[in-house]
């Protein structure tokens, strides 16, 4: 396996060197950078390519920037692959983009190599976002996922990125929900971010059962929290205002939860949620109706 990788790297280097312009091939730092990649000395390779690119004869060639991008990608995979805000990866992308912008339309082969490298980097941004998205860290994954989307839109403009965007925003909403529920009193801004993430999903796919259901539950939980966290000595004047807000939230919850039910009438959680919403609205007959549907569903599932 290791031998195969070494062979492939050697072959890639050979192709890379063959594709560069003669003026670059004559630059000693440029040549040395290649040798260092071959020797797997990422630090030295990076230092020499940076020195070489200062030569205007080297810098004017798209191929040189491609090589620089390749070397930075090599540096990233050798030294910074676990660093989710890797500067080398960002630099590799910058160089590859520069190479792409300088490339004449006729250079199909080189274009395809640049795009393949950019795609590799995009995949790494995506994987990093997926790996690290949790309640203690969501800002960096948002940035990394944004990078993934940006690169993919550039290199494959016709690609349907909706599923990835939906998946990411649903996952993000999950994180926001956990953060909000841990401290609903002080994290109302997180709740708004949660709704924003779900709204993005619903804009992309209005028929998403998960997004409709989760949005309904956000409003539902907000309504329940409002009353349950009111102190027993809340004066009647204040209680009346809280009740007004609570009813409004339950009503806001309804269209989303009803839509989730319409899309998937056999989802037990939705039936339970609808029963809860109507209970909260003090419409006990409707609440009972959904509870009965839920009981019926449970019976069917047992058989």
């Amino acid at each position: 396996m290791k031998n195969t990788r070494t062979y492939l790297l050697g072959l890639t280097l050979l192709c890379l060197f063959a594709c560069v312009h003669a003026s670059a091939q004559q630059n000693p730092d440029f040549v040395a950078a290649f040798n260092y990649v071959n020797l797997k000395q990422a630090d030295s390779a990076r230092a020499r390519i940076d020195k070489a690119i200062k030569d205007s004869a080297v810098a004017k060639e798209a191929q040189s920037w491609y090589v620089r991008g390749f070397i930075y990608k090599f540096y990233y995979t050798s030294k910074e692959v676990t660093n989710q805000s890797s500067p080398a990866r960002a630099e590799a992308l910058r160089s590859l983009r520069k190479a792409l912008s300088m490339l004449p339309d006729t250079s199909r082969e080189l274009r395809s190599s640049i795009l393949a490298n950019m795609k590799f980097i995009a995949a790494k941004y995506h994987n990093d976002a997926a790996k690290s998205l949790d309640t203690s860290n969501y800002q960096l994954p948002i940035r990394n996922f944004g990078m993934y989307m940006e690169i993919m839109k550039q290199i494959e403009p016709g690609m349907n990125l909706k599923p990835a965007e939906i998946e990411f925003n649903l996952a993000l909403s999950t994180i926001y929900t956990s953060l909000y529920q841990a401290n609903p009193k002080t994290r109302t801004n997180i709740l708004e971010m949660d709704k924003e993430a779900l709204n993005k999903v619903l804009k992309l796919d209005p028929n998403s059962v998960t997004a409709n259901y989760n949005m309904g539950i956000l409003y539902y939980n907000q309504a329940v929290y409002l009353i349950n966290n009111s102190d027993f000595d809340t004066p009647l004047t204040s209680l009346s205002g809280i009740q007004d807000n609570q009813v409004q939230l339950f009503r806001q919850s309804l269209p989303f939860t009803e839509k989730a039910y319409e899309l998937d009438p056999k989802k037990a959680e939705t039936l339970q949620a609808l029963s809860g919403i109507y209970f909260g609205l003090n419409e006990y007959d409707k609440s009972k109706l959904f509870q009965e549907k839920l009981d019926e569903l449970k019976k069917q599932n047992q058989h």
């Binding site: 998960t210 009647l236 029963s275």
Partner: protein, 166 residues
């Protein structure tokens, strides 16, 4: 590599608890806005629940652990049967016990007990406070006459918050 997605949901019981919590807030307010007879101003402040209403029992027990009615400690009782000699400051009669309501009013007639119900028309049958739903919200009807029959003085503030019976 994919992202982890799940649905967060609080159980329906939360809505039932929420409903009971509101009623507990109302009941606590009643203790401040109603004046009980002198012989009810010492000892514990007793709130009885007649009928099965676990969420309210739990909420009132929580209230009792942190609040008092003036200088009196709260005592929350789940009532199995109404005794004529029993002393309750407030008796909440749940909707499943409405058939016995006439018997309750007769046994507690003249006691300093605030009778609280939650069924349409109960103030006409002797209840002083009756929870009702108005525009999806829990409100209460008040019968000042029924309260006075139980030697209770209702404040004007409480009257102002009560909804009129149709």
């Amino acid at each position: 590599m994919g992202f982890l997605i799940f649905s967060a949901f609080q159980q329906r019981e939360d809505a039932a608890v929420m409903n009971a919590h509101q009623k507990a807030i109302f009941l606590y307010n009643f203790t401040k806005l109603i004046d009980w007879p002198a012989d009810y101003k010492s000892g514990n402040f007793v709130i009885g629940i007649y009928g099965s209403y676990i969420p309210l029992l739990n909420e009132l027990s929580k209230m009792a652990s942190t609040k008092t009615a003036g200088a009196q400690k709260f005592e929350i009782k789940e009532v199995g049967a109404i005794e004529a000699a029993a002393k309750y400051h407030i008796l909440f009669v749940s909707s499943d016990k409405m058939a016995q309501f006439a018997d309750i009013t007769s046994k507690l007639k003249g006691h300093g007990t605030l009778l609280v119900t939650e069924k349409e028309g109960m103030t006409k049958k002797g209840s002083a406070i009756n929870f009702v739903v108005v525009e999806n919200k829990i409100k209460f009807q008040l019968s000042k006459a029924n309260a006075e029959k139980q030697q209770l003085k209702v404040s004007r503030d409480l009257e102002a918050f009560a909804v009129k019976e149709e």
